[in-house]
């Protein structure tokens, strides 16, 4: 017989850790129907617990009808009627946590309390008398330290026991006095109209004038009037509004309970370690510099060019040695032993297609791993929430909330969770705006692009990486300012209120695991997407039309009758490639198609078939841009130079030859800012929940990328002396002026409360 157990508790109470502990990997994650709130369900671990389902509810502070998470949770509890509830309570924060508990108790569902973080409670010097607490609340209380898996066994056994026995909490008076009388009266009025089990709960909600509950009860007009009369009388008697009355009753009850069961070790007003850290880290003068310093430090280690830059060192090794010499060498030997000679199609496909393409991308895994590791640590410590707070002051000047900053930070790892992190923004308009601009941030997959350009053209300068991030953040902020001036987005940002969890030492295992999973998925991506893309690209470069003859371009190029000097010059001019570098690929199918499309990118400085093709492949996965380069630049040039196997830097030299610095920079910017990869697009689609907006987001990002690249190439190029004054320059100047106008104009002024609505009005 299936048992359903719901897991409910405050955010930051350790619910997720407990859920993971209970279900291991047997989890299913989806969405609650119709809303972008995550639904997590899992089967209890352990042979003897077959058929026990654990439903993880979103972290909530109460069962009020005001936020999506709360509505989704209460709807679940009232319609699905789980067999038991495990209420996870943060022991270091009991009073606030019990607020939800009082509401759960009213649901008449068997409930057991998991008192978490007990190790922290003890460390703080506080004492909780679990037995007294249990007596006061009327249900079992189990001590837990979810991080250390203590107490979980006992919890599970007891939860199942009460589920099977349908053992309800012993009745206790949360609400007393006048309010209690009023609720009793309402119970009598609505009796018969609601499920008997939830009579008490519905009566309380009716007393609070809870809209959603009133809708679902559907009373006759006369009954509604009766209820209203009861409420008004009580409000008059207690001189307060009904919601506040109930809130106060709850807190009074909680105080009674904690008086009996909780003893505080710390003196009032004493600051905990976390508070002391926060004093410094969120200080009005130090806060921002500290943050900038930390981020710079992280990127220096992962991507810089200094001695602490272990990321770069490892990547260089991988690129130059592993994929520069060992792997191609190994394949050379194996293929040779199997009689697949160099120069054959098969050999080319494997060495110049797969190995070159995949190798180019995998080379960057070390850098990404280091970055992911550092970001994980930062997140695990709890610093991210503080960052939102520090940035809020600045963001608010631009009409944005500090909460809009978190998606940006998360997106530096991967854009997909970055887009999803926009869920913390309650204001619908701000949320859409955040989704639209989050992927401007360079994600892990874009690192290879930065690495390639920085390495090949700019001598490994760390300023290139830094500029990529500044331009990313700059784009987000400027976009925010510009978009907010339009009617669709105007409105004051929602008030910023956020709970800051205590700092804690990052879990070594947790961080390593998170990093490993990220790295592994990157490699898996390389294994599937990159291999296939590289093969396809290689094929398209293997065949083509050489001076009127169609066939394998490599073979045709060996025939001097076909490949005349004249033809070479023609090809060189057409493809804009120096005659010494012209090779068979330039005559291939891909080259012709790419060349035709490259017109689009001429104003941006990279109107050439290779970068055009690379940019398009970036849609599949941003890493693929580098993968494509790997394939497209591993050719035998006209001098019969050695193939890629010997010097990994061969590509880099060739790339350097093909681009002027400003063109390369423009290319990098375009790829960093334009529409993100399919995965991110999918995430955007899901979060926007609306076709029009999804396309708007993609269009906006690509448009922005185009404009920025154009300006950079034309104006930047002119300043650097690489580009002459011309039509492009004029267009660039016009664009700059337009941008400045959009940034500084007055914009749409919303009236009154317009724009403030929370993203929560749903029909649950």
């Amino acid at each position: 017989m299936e048992i359903k157990i719901a897991l409910a508790g405050n955010p930051n109470s350790g619910k997720t850790t407990l859920f993971n502990d209970l279900t291991g990997s047997r989890q299913y994650v989806g969405n609650w129907p119709g809303v972008t709130v995550e639904k997590k369900e899992g089967k209890l671990k352990g042979q003897e617990y077959k058929d026990v389902i654990i439903q993880d509810l979103p972290g909530i502070y109460s069962l009020s009808p005001y936020t999506l998470e709360e509505v989704v949770s209460r709807t679940y509890l009232v319609t699905e009627k789980p067999d038991a509830i495990i209420n996870i309570v943060d022991g270091t924060n009991i009073e606030r946590n019990l607020y939800l508990t009082t509401q759960l108790l009213e649901l008449n569902i068997p409930i057991i309390i998991a008192l978490n973080m007990m190790d922290l409670v003890r460390k703080n010097g506080d004492k909780v008398d679990t037995k007294a607490l249990s007596e006061a609340l009327g249900c079992e209380v189990v001590e837990l330290s979810a991080l250390k898996s203590e107490g979980t066994e006992a919890l599970v056994k007891k939860a199942i026991a009460i589920a099977n026995a349908n053992k309800l909490a012993t009745a206790n008076e949360v609400i007393s006095g006048e309010a209690k009388e009023a609720i009793k009266k309402i119970e009598n009025i609505i009796k018969g109209e609601v499920d008997e089990k939830f009579l008490h709960w519905n009566a309380i909600k009716a007393f609070e004038r809870d809209e959603k509950v009133m809708e679902s009860i559907n009373l006759s007009e006369s009954k509604k009037a009766e209820v209203e009369k009861v409420i008004s009388e009580c409000e008059k008697a207690l001189d307060d509004d009904s919601e506040s009355i109930i809130t106060n009753e709850r807190y009074n009850y909680i105080t009674e309970v904690t008086d009996k069961a909780v003893i505080k070790g710390r003196k009032k007003g004493e600051l905990s370690a976390s508070d002391k850290i926060d004093r410094v880290v969120t200080n009005r003068i130090l806060g921002l510099p500290i943050f900038a310093g930390i981020m710079f430090f992280i990127y220096a280690i992962a991507m810089g060019g200094w001695s602490i830059s272990i990321g770069t060192a490892a990547t260089d090794f991988t690129n130059d040695v592993i994929f520069g010499e060992w792997v191609p060498g190994l394949f050379d030997v194996i293929l040779g032993a199997l009689h697949v000679e160099e120069g054959t199609v098969l050999y080319g496909l494997i060495q110049d297609g797969i190995v070159a393409g995949v190798g180019a991308v995998i080379g960057f895994v070390p850098q990404m791993l280091v970055l992911f590791l550092l970001l994980s640590i930062l997140e695990d410590i709890g610093y991210m929430a503080r960052v939102a707070f520090v940035m809020d002051r600045i963001f608010r000047q631009f009409g944005l909330s500090g909460k809009a900053f978190i998606p940006c930070l998360v997106a530096t790892g991967c854009g997909v969770p970055g887009v999803m992190a926009s869920r913390t923004i309650e204001n619908e308009r701000d949320r859409r705006m955040s989704i639209m601009t989050t992927t401007f941030m360079p994600c892990g997959a874009k690192l290879p692009i930065i690495g390639l350009i920085a390495g090949a053209i700019f001598g490994g300068s760390p300023w290139i990486a830094a500029s990529a991030y500044f331009i990313g953040i700059g784009s987000i902020v400027l976009s925010g300012i510009i978009l907010k001036k339009f009617k669709a987005f105007a409105g004051i940002p929602a008030p910023f209120v956020m709970e800051l969890p205590a700092y804690h030492v990052p879990s070594f295992v947790g961080v390593l695991r998170a990093t490993w999973e990220r790295g592994w998925s990157f490699i898996k991506r390389a294994g599937s997407v990159i291999v296939v893309s590289s093969v396809i690209i290689w094929f398209l470069t293997a065949f083509g039309n050489v001076n009127g003859h169609f066939g394998l371009v490599d073979e045709l190029f060996e025939d001097e009758a076909v490949v005349t000097d004249e033809y070479i010059n023609e090809l060189s001019a057409k493809m804009d490639v120096p005659t010494t570098e012209v090779n068979s690929m330039d005559a291939s199918l891909l080259a012709s198609v790419g060349d035709a499309a490259s017109i689009v990118f001429k104003p941006l400085g990279f109107g050439n078939w290779k970068p055009t093709v690379a940019t398009v492949t970036g849609l599949v996965a941003k890493e693929e841009v580098v993968g494509t380069f790997g394939v497209l630049y591993s050719y035998d040039d006209m001098d019969g130079a050695e193939e890629l196997g010997e010097e990994g830097e061969q590509i880099w030299d060739r790339v350097r030859a093909d681009y002027t610095p400003i063109a390369a920079f423009s290319f990098m910017l375009f790829n960093l800012l334009c529409a993100p990869c399919f995965a991110a697009i999918g995430a955007i689609k899901r979060e926007m929940n609306n076709r029009k907006w999804t396309w708007a987001a993609i269009g906006y990002m690509t448009g922005w990328a185009y404009v920025i690249s154009l300006i950079t190439y034309n104006l930047g190029g002119m300043i650097a002396g690489e580009v002459a004054f011309g039509f492009g320059t004029i267009v660039a100047i016009v664009l700059v002026v337009t941008l400045l106008y959009l940034i500084f104009r007055k914009g749409y002024q919303p009236k009154g409360n317009e724009g403030l609505e929370m993203a929560v009005k749903i029909n649950a």
């Binding site: 969120t282 939102a388 608010r396």
Partner: protein, 69 residues
């Protein structure tokens, strides 16, 4: 006076919370009710970090202005 004017390290008591029902209720759920004590941990240009009922809550200036102590 509004909370936003309190100084760092002060411990103050809430006298009144102004504003719409939704905001008031949300604050109440976090522990901000009349009669409750607040310990100011940090201030950043009007935005504040305070301790209420043992938890650490960050508030922006707008909200801090609505809580009267």
């Amino acid at each position: 006076m509004p909370l936003s004017m309190a100084d760092i390290d002060e411990i103050v008591v809430i006298k009144r919370i102004s504003g719409s029902d939704e905001i008031k209720q949300h604050l109440a759920e976090l522990g901000f009710v009349v009669g409750e004590e607040i310990h100011i941990v940090s201030k950043n240009g009007g935005n504040m970090i305070v301790k209420v009922k043992d938890s650490r809550i960050a508030l922006d200036k707008g909200l801090a202005n609505r809580i009267f102590i």
